[in-house]
Symmetry: C2
Subunit: 250 residues, 2 copies
Amino acid sequence: MSTTAAETDRQPSPDTQATAVYRRLRLDILKGRLAPGIRLKVQDLSAAYGAGQAPLREALAQLAAEGLARRIEQRGFRVADADPTEFAGLIRTRCLTEALALRESIARGDAAWEDAVAAAERRLQRLPRSLEAGRFVANPAWETAHRAFHTALLAACDAPPLLAFCERLREEADRYRMLANAIAYPGRDVAAEHAAIAEAALDRDAERAGALLAQHLGSTGEFVRLALERRAAHQGQQRKRRHAAVLAAE
Amino acid sequence: MSTTAAETDRQPSPDTQATAVYRRLRLDILKGRLAPGIRLKVQDLSAAYGAGQAPLREALAQLAAEGLARRIEQRGFRVADADPTEFAGLIRTRCLTEALALRESIARGDAAWEDAVAAAERRLQRLPRSLEAGRFVANPAWETAHRAFHTALLAACDAPPLLAFCERLREEADRYRMLANAIAYPGRDVAAEHAAIAEAALDRDAERAGALLAQHLGSTGEFVRLALERRAAHQGQQRKRRHAAVLAAE
DNA sequence: CCCGACAAAACACTCGATAATCCCGTTTCA
DNA sequence: TGAAACGGGATTATCGAGTGTTTTGTCGGG
């Protein structure tokens, strides 16, 4: 080993509390463990995550900048809410942007890119969407492979900020999808859609691939939108019941 | 006045120190008053902006999330540096993304959008690019009108996150442009380019407008790139001189 | 029964100080 | 001569207490 201690240590400074709690919060929001719209009280979180308030505020400021949380001046932070209108804009943007990145990727991708796409597609096909047959139970391996497949498709577009943007949109959309999957189950053949996109991409048919990808994202979006509507109705009922209970208790 | 105090107060809670210092820092970075790459020491900034360290760290965390600053674990924050490679990716992404948004805008824009574009273009044409004839002195009014023109072009694309993304890219690119303008002067006829874009947009020629816009952004990018090179050479010389001075002083 | 003023509690935000870590010039050893 | 250990000084990261704002709950009047 010719690397000195100074060189190896450069990168992995022990994670600071602020970033550690940032990562955990981020995941808890994306996975839906922290429901949309709820208050993020600094003291509570501080107790829950075992970190001081200063690091927590730092993490929250970061999340707010990313759009995963909302800051309200003098009134603290809340989890970004799951608004159908915002979601529609999100999906529309994804369709446009990912299709654009895919077209560019097809125009510029080399043989290595083709191989990566084909490999990612094969890996994805092997995995079951849900861990159980009857109802939906998220399969972490599938989620990972799914992410990898979509990333591989766009990887050759040679515009890092565009890629980063697509990834952020995907995470945000995935948050909605998580919420939706808690109450509904996608009936369509997602695997076939992925296969069709991969085929078009490898055929270098940019227009067809872009259109298919946009359609794929749109379908998922529509599915989530319906689930979201049901959720809203559900919550409305719950709120009514709770209100009734309060009245009854008096 | 029929509005109660409760209603009017809701929005404008007096700016918290954290956000106030965030805005100031942000501007100082974008305007180039804080040079790329320099360290952002919490204590110094705390003294300079007259705020505590906690709000400052919050602001810095936010800026880091936006990409205007870099956080290095256990080693504080630095201003994002002006790297030619990153800049190239930025420009490429802008060309792709703004052209996309413009095409969408043209496809969806109504009469009000047309009017807004035409008006913004006229306002821009009236203003001089530089306050002095011989050398470049930034004209705030022109900068504002320029921003407004480009925003008006994309306004009808009906994809809020896409618009927000374009705006962020523009700000980042403008930071580079500020640095470049400090040492060079654009020789081409920027006004004519704007006019051509507006004309194509109002003609509803999406392809031509998109191409012209991409070309416009690319030219500006090329200009900045050259200036950046000169800047690098300049800094190299300065560093050499400083080094020589140190040696001479011994 | 509803509405608005009022007081108390909860909470966000801020500050100053302390602990942990890094940086850099110096010394020590092979 | 060069590389590794070492310390003083600077800087980051963190904590706990204090201040001001918002929210909640209560009470009297419409």
